[in-house]
């Protein structure tokens, strides 16, 4: 038998005993196992596709969708009706910055009249209102009169409301007249287009997003740092104690995990509010004057304290899982080689915990960047994060495209961070538990 194998291997392709190619036989014998393995992971695969990939895809497409001024979906018939067709043609024919002429106003009138007919004028007004506030009512009132207007339409429309001559309004309509746009990303970065189509900063008082992105990143970094500083010694203690004691301590670390997020956050309100436990104790002990109670909640401090507490286990667990298998003989070896305990820690112990620091840091930071409930409850106005604004656009202003653009930027930021981490530390060094 071994002779036969040796002979065939020197000539050409290996075959099985009955002459079939060996590779094909191997593939066939493994196909069954591979198929079974695939069936086992299929539910999860479907779940991930449905709950993760599709929503992200939708979010990305929503962030560039600009249909408010472009098309209208009739609720009764279900048909999609194009809007402002004539005006869009005029925008295509004339470059940005062109003074709107009679033809432009005629196109606008036709569009407004059509919009009133199809009951889509509310949507159009809302869309332009995102960019030029106070215009929603202008659209509805002018559209009411559009049906009966006589040429010249420019005069007729300006008669109805002389705000129609505002070049900013025309720039906004031009921007809104494309079905796909990156303008929501501009808006998410506090940028807009002026009348000539150039990208400019929005007015000081309307610029909120960049500030909030900055605040979110800074607070998240601070919270990550705080969880690291607080979590590192705990994780070390857990890793070095005998298992029976460390299990008990681990329960205390995990206890917050098993308690409702809402309960934990509200208990911070009980503790930190100006008539709360901490202030009361301070006053009773004479450390704080009764009239100068410290404001620790409904501001950034509240957000930081509550989020650090809530995210701490996400730092402790990866650190613990990295520290547990580090043999104490490494530090002993360093000590016997002449290193002080600080040098041994810095040069020998700490570098070995880097995968845990990285994993914990990444985990906490990513969670903090997207955190919503806690800042909403204890953040006041100065402790709000970008996710609170995303929620605002989802629920209140209904500017879903802007919300999607903000969320996409957040996603891009996190991916960038992930990439950076991979470059600096190496993602295969990540150890989550």
């Amino acid at each position: 038998m071994s002779d036969a194998v040796a002979a065939t291997s020197t000539t050409e392709k290996l075959t099985t005993a009955d002459g079939k190619p060996l590779k094909a036989a191997l593939a066939r014998s493994q196909a069954r196992n591979r198929r079974r393995a695939f069936y086992l992971v299929m539910p999860l695969l479907l779940f991930v596709v449905v709950t993760f990939l599709i929503p992200i895809g939708q979010m990305l497409s929503m962030s560039v969708t600009n249909t408010g001024f472009y098309s209208w979906k009739d609720r009764d018939t279900g048909e999609t009706v194009p809007l402002m067709v004539e005006l869009r043609e005029w925008f295509d024919a004339n470059p940005a910055g062109t003074e709107p002429d009679e033809a432009a106003y005629a196109a606008l009138r036709a569009g407004l009249a059509h919009a009133r007919e199809t009951k889509s004028i509310g949507q159009i007004g809302t869309r332009i209102n995102y960019e030029v506030s106070g215009t929603r009512s202008m659209f509805t009132s002018t559209a009411r009169k559009a049906e009966r207007m006589e040429p010249p339409f420019k005069e007729a429309i300006l008669d109805a409301d002389d705000e129609w001559a505002d070049p900013k309004l025309w720039a906004a309509m031009r921007n809104a007249s494309k079905s796909v746009t990156l303008d929501f990303y501009l808006a998410a970065l506090d940028r807009t287009r002026d009348a000539d189509g150039n990208i400019v900063k929005v007015e000081e008082e309307r610029a909120v997003y960049v500030l909030l992105f900055q605040r979110t990143l800074i607070l998240s970094a601070l919270i990550t740092f705080l969880t690291l500083v607080l979590g590192f010694p705990i994780a070390h203690l857990l890793a070095t104690l005998p298992l029976s004691k460390s299990n008990l301590l681990m329960i205390f670390v995990l206890l917050p995990f098993w308690t409702s997020l809402l309960v934990r956050t509200t208990s911070w309100i009980v503790l930190l509010q100006s008539q709360g436990v901490v202030n009361d104790i301070g006053v009773a002990a004479g450390l704080i004057a009764d009239e100068n109670r410290i404001q620790m909640i409904y501001n950034q401090t509240g957000t930081i304290i509550a989020m650090t507490h809530i995210l701490l286990p996400f730092m402790v667990l990866p650190l613990y899982s990295v520290m547990r298998p580090i043999d104490p003989s490494y530090v002993r070896a360093a000590r016997s080689l002449g290193a002080t305990s600080w040098t041994a820690f810095r040069r020998v112990y700490m570098p070995q915990t880097v995968p845990g620091i990285g994993a914990g840091g990444l985990l906490v930071f990513i969670l903090a960047v997207g955190y919503y409930i806690t800042p909403a409850l204890v953040g006041g106005s100065s402790g709000q994060l970008i996710s609170n604004l995303i929620a605002f656009h989802m629920q209140k202003s209904l500017n879903w495209s802007l919300a999607a653009a903000l969320a996409s930027l957040l996603l891009a930021g996190v991916l960038l961070l992930y990439w950076l981490y991979d470059r600096l530390v190496g993602i295969d060094n990540l150890k989550l538990g």
Partner: protein
Amino acid sequence: MTEPANRPFVEFDRVQKSYDGETLVVKDLNLQMPKGEFLTMLGPSGSGKTTCLMMLAGFETATHGEINLDGRSINNIPPHKRGIGMVFQNYALFPHMTVAENLAFPLEVRGMDKSEREAKVKRALEMVQMGAFAARRPAQLSGGQKQRIALARALVFEPELVLMDEPLGALDKQLREHMQFEIKHLHESLGITVVYVTHDQTEALTMSDRVAVFNDGVIQQLAPPDELYERPQNSFVAGFIGENNRLEGTIESIEGSKATVRLKTGELIDATPVNITNVGQQTLVSIRPERVEFKPENFDPGAHTIEAEVLEFIYMGDSFRTRLRVAGHDDFIMKCRNMLGQERLTPGRKLPISWHMQDARALDPM
């Protein structure tokens, strides 16, 4: 001890150690080592040998007593100031550093400048024949290579005392034997003092100048390897070092260095009494299998013989083992060299056996 040095280099003086305040792991340890000695602490796990090593290295504190190094008490000196090299069982090579960085570490923390550091690292690597591996990481090395690097790292800063905690425990047999020689040669060529901990008696016997046999927190015997093997002081040492046949009995009579022992089954045998003085005392006679004789021409004239029945004959290659029934024991082993013309005993045969009196040692019954 027997060394001429007036001051021991390493000294344990009435050292005791307890972890929980209830039991003593090390009980009243007294030990003196001259400079340049290779001393092995041998014992079963839990016998206190590793604890002694850790106290010497400074990772455990003695509950009572003094540990002196070169005439100075080191009880209150932190480990990094003791200047003791140490090799760990799992090597403890820093995984995030290359081999060269591992070796440079002890020099770096001593503030040595770079060129001197590099020269020393190079020399240390060549000493263990690992010069080509300077840029590797520990994970890329085999067990034996890691062991050499660990050794080189413990020696690179030229300590006078090197501690080794079962350094060859994780290696396979062949490599272990090879490394035993290398360590021994390094010890001889560098003139360092070595304290070596192991539970492997072969390792202890082949490498050491002296062996301290630990059991139950006490040194049972401290002696050179040959003395330990041939003249064990008590039944624990006799049983722990090498193979050994045991026969229980009572002392019938003592004449100088000769004791006659009556076994439980009534036979009389000759033995050398060790720490035994009273007639009528219980004793355990220990005889090495290779010292048992069955050819009458080799018997000591005038010595007692004892009847034995061959139960099993085992061919071992270089030797034959014969399992005998002697005085009611089924596990009495006799070992003979596989020489030309050596007789192979067949099971069922009955024959008298004997031994030289100094090969049978009447020890305290444990």
